[in-house]
C-alpha cells in the first residue's frame, strides 16, 4: 500500500501534466484556427486547378499520341515511382503520423508486389525517424517544411520529381498525407499525380489552345502549376490536420489526467481514513488493555 506522501506527490505530478496538456491544447486550438484559415482560402484554387487539369486531360485524350507531353501521355507500365510522404515534425498528436506511415507501408507493399521500384521522399521529422528506425531507404529527407508550409519550398520539392518524370526516370508521383476534414477528423489521402489520367470516359472533344503554335509550353506550365499548388495545398492540409489531431489528443490527455487525479484522490482518502481508523483502534485497544489491569 502506497503511503500518503507517495500518493500526494503522484497527484501533484499528474496535475502538472494536466496543466501542460491543457496548455498544449490551447496552443493547438489557436494554431489550428490559423492553419484552417490558410487552408480554406486556398481550397477553392486547389479544387479548381484539379478540375481544370482533369478536364483538359479528358479532352486531350483523342489526340494524346500527337502531344509531346509526358504528363498527359498514357504510361502502360510503371517501373519506378516517386512516393512523397508528408507527416508532422512533432509528435503528441495521437495516431496522426502513424496513420500516414501505415498507409505508406501498405502502398509500398502493394507496389513491391507489382514489382515497381520506389523512391521514397519524406517530408516531416516523424516519418523520417520512423523509416530510419525500421531501415527503409529514403531518397530524400525534408525536415521543417511541414511545420511551416512555404510555396517556394513546396514547389522545389515537386519540381525535382517532375524533372525526373519528364526525363523518364520515374513514371508516377504518389502523394501520401493525412489531411484535415474537420476539427475532429483527419483522413489519409493517397494520390497519384502523374500522368494526369481521368477515370471518366475520354471525351472526344475539340480543344483550342492559344497560342496554338506553342501549346505545349502553356500546358506544361499549367501542369507545373498544378503540381506545385497540389504540393503546397497538401502541406497546408497536413498542417491543419496535425493541429486538429493534436488538439484532440491533448484534450483526451487532459481528460484522462482529470480521471486519474480523481482515482488517486479517492485512494488517498481511503488510505488516510484507514490510517485514522487504525490509530483509533490502537488507542482503544490500549485503553481496554489497561482497564483490564
Amino acid at each position: 500500500m502506497a503511503t500518503l506522501k507517495e500518493l500526494k506527490s503522484k497527484i501533484n505530478s499528474v496535475k502538472n501534466t494536466q496543466k501542460t496538456t491543457r496548455a498544449m491544447k490551447l496552443v493547438s486550438t489557436a494554431k489550428l484556427k490559423r492553419a484552417e484559415e490558410a487552408l480554406l482560402m486556398s481550397r477553392e484554387y486547389a479544387r479548381k486547378i484539379d478540375e481544370v487539369i482533369k478536364e483538359i486531360s479528358a479532352k486531350l485524350a483523342s489526340v494524346k499520341e500527337s502531344i509531346n507531353l509526358r504528363a498527359f501521355a498514357h504510361i502502360p507500365e510503371h517501373k519506378k515511382v516517386d512516393m512523397i510522404v508528408v507527416t508532422a515534425d512533432k509528435g503528441l498528436c495521437g495516431g496522426f503520423n502513424i496513420q500516414t506511415i501505415k498507409a505508406t507501408l501498405a502502398k509500398i507493399e502493394e507496389l513491391k508486389n507489382q514489382k515497381v521500384k520506389i523512391r521514397l521522399r519524406v517530408i516531416g521529422k516523424k516519418a523520417v525517424e520512423y523509416f530510419k528506425f525500421v531501415g527503409i531507404e529514403m531518397y530524400e529527407e525534408i525536415i521543417s517544411l511541414s511545420s511551416a508550409p512555404d510555396y517556394k519550398k513546396a514547389a522545389e520539392v515537386i519540381e525535382k520529381s517532375y524533372a525526373d518524370f519528364v526525363n523518364e526516370e520515374i513514371d508516377n508521383i504518389i502523394l501520401i498525407y493525412n489531411g484535415y476534414v474537420n476539427k475532429l477528423t483527419q483522413k489519409v489521402h493517397t494520390k497519384a499525380l502523374l500522368p494526369v489520367e481521368v477515370d471518366t470516359e475520354a471525351k472526344d472533344e475539340f480543344l483550342e489552345v492559344e497560342p496554338s503554335d506553342d501549346y505545349e509550353t502553356i500546358l506544361e506550365s499549367l501542369v507545373k502549376k498544378y503540381l506545385e499548388y497540389t504540393m503546397y495545398y497538401t502541406l497546408l492540409d497536413s498542417l491543419a490536420g496535425e493541429h486538429s489531431a493534436r488538439m484532440q489528443a491533448m484534450d483526451a490527455a487532459t481528460n484522462n489526467a482529470q480521471e486519474m487525479v480523481k482515482q488517486l484522490t479517492l485512494e488517498y482518502n481511503k488510505v488516510r481514513q484507514e490510517n485514522v481508523t487504525r490509530e483509533l483502534i490502537e488507542i482503544v485497544t490500549a485503553i481496554e488493555a489497561m482497564k483490564k489491569k
Binding site: E44, Y45, E51, E55, L207, E210
Partner: protein
C-alpha cells in the same frame, strides 16, 4: 454561362454571366455562351464581366489561366482585385490597388497606361 474566378487566396467571383472579356496572351477576347473549348494564359489586365442583369463588373488580374467550355469558364489567376465598392472612397481604394497590381505585374509602360485608362473610365461608369 457560369464563370468562376479563383486565386490562391480564395474565390473572387462566381456566378451566371452573359459575356466576359479577357486579356489573353494573343490579345483581348470575348466569350459568349457556347464558346468553343479553349485554354490560354492571361496577361496582366482587366477581366470585364457582363452579368445576367446587365451590370458590368471589372476585375484586374496580374497573370493566370483561363479554361473555356461551352457551359462554363474557369479562371485561375495569381492575384486579382475587383474594381468595385459601395462608396466612393472604397472604389478609389480599389482603383489604386488594381493599378498597383498591374504595375507590379507588367514591365510594359504602354500596357500599364492602357489598363489604367480603362480602369478610370470603367470606374466613372460605376
Amino acid at each position: 454561362m457560369k464563370i468562376d474566378i479563383v486565386t490562391p487566396l480564395g474565390r473572387v467571383f462566381e456566378g451566371e454571366i452573359k459575356e466576359a472579356t479577357f486579356p489573353g496572351i494573343e490579345g483581348e477576347f470575348g466569350v459568349l455562351d457556347g464558346h468553343a473549348p479553349l485554354v490560354t494564359t492571361l496577361n496582366p489586365g482587366l477581366i470585364t464581366i457582363k452579368k445576367s442583369d446587365g451590370k458590368e463588373e471589372i476585375i484586374a488580374i496580374n497573370w493566370g489561366y483561363v479554361e473555356v467550355t461551352p457551359e462554363h469558364i474557369n479562371v485561375l489567376v495569381d492575384s486579382a482585385v475587383p474594381v468595385a465598392g459601395s462608396s466612393e472612397s472604397e472604389i478609389a481604394e480599389a482603383i489604386e490597388k488594381a493599378k498597383q497590381l498591374i504595375k507590379d505585374a507588367s514591365d510594359s509602360d504602354a500596357l500599364v497606361a492602357t489598363v489604367e485608362a480603362k480602369i478610370e473610365s470603367a470606374a466613372r461608369a460605376l
